[in-house]
Amino acid sequence: MSQQDDVEIVHFDNVGLRYGTGKEVLTDVSFTLYSGRFYFLTGASGAGKTSMLKLLYLAQRPSRGLIRMFGTDAITLPRDRLPGFRRRLGVVFQDFRLVPHLSAFDNVALPLRVAGVPERDIVKPVTDMLDWVGLGDRSTARPATLSGGEQQRVAIARAVIGRPDMLVADEPTGNVDPEMAVKLLRLFEALNRLGTTVVVATHDVHLIRQVPESLIMRLDKGRLSDPTGALRYPPRRVSAPARVEFPGT
């Protein structure tokens, strides 16, 4: 493992989050994520996984504490700089959040179009990606006509199409069969091999076992624990994952 792998991507320092005047859903959360690592975020339902992911993909500001992303203070980040940061992130939402009036192809192409990629450079990678997630023949279908699993695969394809620096996925395999779940996980691993930091929130132990070199963070009632030493410094060294081809490489 090279020195480059220890580059800090995200740093949380005593972060707390409450919605409105309610009690804190995240309390004193402190950790650092490093470039090129594969992290699982586990915890029971209501433990605060989705809230933490919201902080990670800049959909929410914390009530207190410090968050540094890509070496920049994310809390005081001016609003006009947020899009640039968000383009470095890939997000798989728990509820997919596909755009209902767009086809599967257009949904996957969305991050590229938002980033201003010319149309001529969009068709091939999007087609390859849809083929890779097994939806090559469903590219013109609207989300409403896709099954839950198919929608989830479109959401994953959309999250990874732009080769983000960090992929954040909230229960990304919750609606697919075990075979497809493993296949999607291999896609995440392939992306991870290309240098993307992957953070997957799940309570599927079987899925976690599929990536033995992963680091695990556990949330319990809004507090973070460190069962695998993922949060220690220097970070635990991991073995390289099995080679999987990423579409377009």
């Binding site: 993909y57 800049l58 959909a59 929410q60 500001r61 609003r79 006009d80 947020l82 899009p83 640039g84 940061f85 968000r86 383009r87 997000v91 959040r97 596909l98 755009v99 209902p100 009036h101 767009l102 257009d106 969305l110 991050p111 179009r113 938002v114 980033a115 201003g116 010319p118 149309e119 959309r158």
Partner: protein, 311 residues
């Protein structure tokens, strides 16, 4: 093909591509619903108010040009011979006075024509039995002010004690005042219509933002900028406003033409001078362009303002 042409084509291609890609982010044509119709009505009414205001301005200008520097001397005397003598004497004095561009004793047949609509000229109408005053039509070289009028009165009354000297503009002063009032009314109507257009576009933009909030949040999460999202809304609003603007312009022009014909049929000299010139029609044609700009700027500012409240 020159480098400039190639560059131009490349720019156009990129612009088209970017617009095409962005226009797919939100469903186009469903953003504003009845907006084109509302804008057509607004533009139609604005065209009517503007053409009315311009016609009134033209009327006032024409009338003002007619009476500018004009003074009327009336010799009011019951005895026709004495009236004629005083009139000739006053005319002679006026012709020698400084600052007079022209002085003319209005001939009897013109006076008859003036009073004909009221007194008639048919056989048996005893026009001469009524003491119609003799009139001297004066044109001064400069504007008619009170001092000038007083000195003319003093001069004329030496020769014709029964004379009355009036600036022609003073007769039309109430008319000018009324026209000015109507012009302000037209301007006020245009302002109110612009305000109503802005309010309508604001409501439509907020409604569209509410309807597409989910999609906008996704585009934001994927790194879409406020300006990208605002461009989608302003493009949609521009299309609606352009369609409504053209419709409204046609509506307004047809209504103006019909009204113009009806007023022309009245045959009144003052109304006949209310015709619109090419410059006026150019202003009228700019109204839909102004409407589109107003709608686009309003939509942009409203959308950007609403987006700023999102993270």
């Amino acid at each position: 093909m020159t480098i400039l042409q190639t560059f131009g084509q490349s720019l156009r291609g990129e612009w088209r591509e970017r617009n095409g890609a962005e226009s797919r982010l939100l469903p186009q044509g469903k953003l504003s619903g009845p907006m084109p119709w509302v804008i057509a009505i607004m533009i139609g009414l604005t065209v009517l108010a503007t053409t009315s205001g311009l016609a009134l301005r033209n009327t006032a200008r024409a009338a003002n040009a007619d009476v500018k520097g004009g003074v009327t001397v009336q010799i009011v005397h019951g005895a026709p011979r004495e009236r004629d003598r005083q009139a000739r004497s006053a005319l002679a004095a006026l012709e020698l006075a400084p600052g007079i561009a022209s002085a003319r004793l209005v001939p009897q047949h013109e006076l008859d024509a003036l009073v004909e609509p009221w007194l008639g000229t048919a056989v048996g109408d005893d026009v001469n039995a009524l003491p119609v005053p003799a009139l001297i039509d004066l044109r001064l070289t400069g504007p008619v002010d009170q001092a000038r009028l007083d000195s003319l009165r003093a001069l004329v009354r030496q020769k014709a004690p029964a004379a009355r000297v009036d600036a022609q503009a003073s007769w039309l002063a109430p008319v000018f005042k009324a026209i000015s009032g109507l012009q302000w009314l037209a301007a006020g109507l245009i302002g109110l219509l612009a305000f109503a257009t802005v309010a309508t576009v604001l409501l439509a933009s907020r409604n569209a933002l509410g309807n597409h909030r989910g999609t906008i949040e996704i585009v934001h999460m994927l790194g879409g900028t406020d300006k990208q999202i605002a461009r989608i809304f302003q493009r949609s609003m521009a299309i609606d406003a352009a369609a409504g603007g053209v419709g409204g312009l046609l509506l307004g022009v047809v209504a103006t033409s019909l009204l113009g014909r009806q007023f022309s049929a009245l045959g009144s000299g003052m109304i006949g001078s209310a015709d619109l010139g090419w410059g006026d029609w150019l202003i009228v044609c700019c109204i839909p362009i102004g409407g589109v700009l107003l709608a686009v700027v309003t939509a942009r500012l409203s959308v950007l303002g609403a987006l700023r409240r999102m993270l």
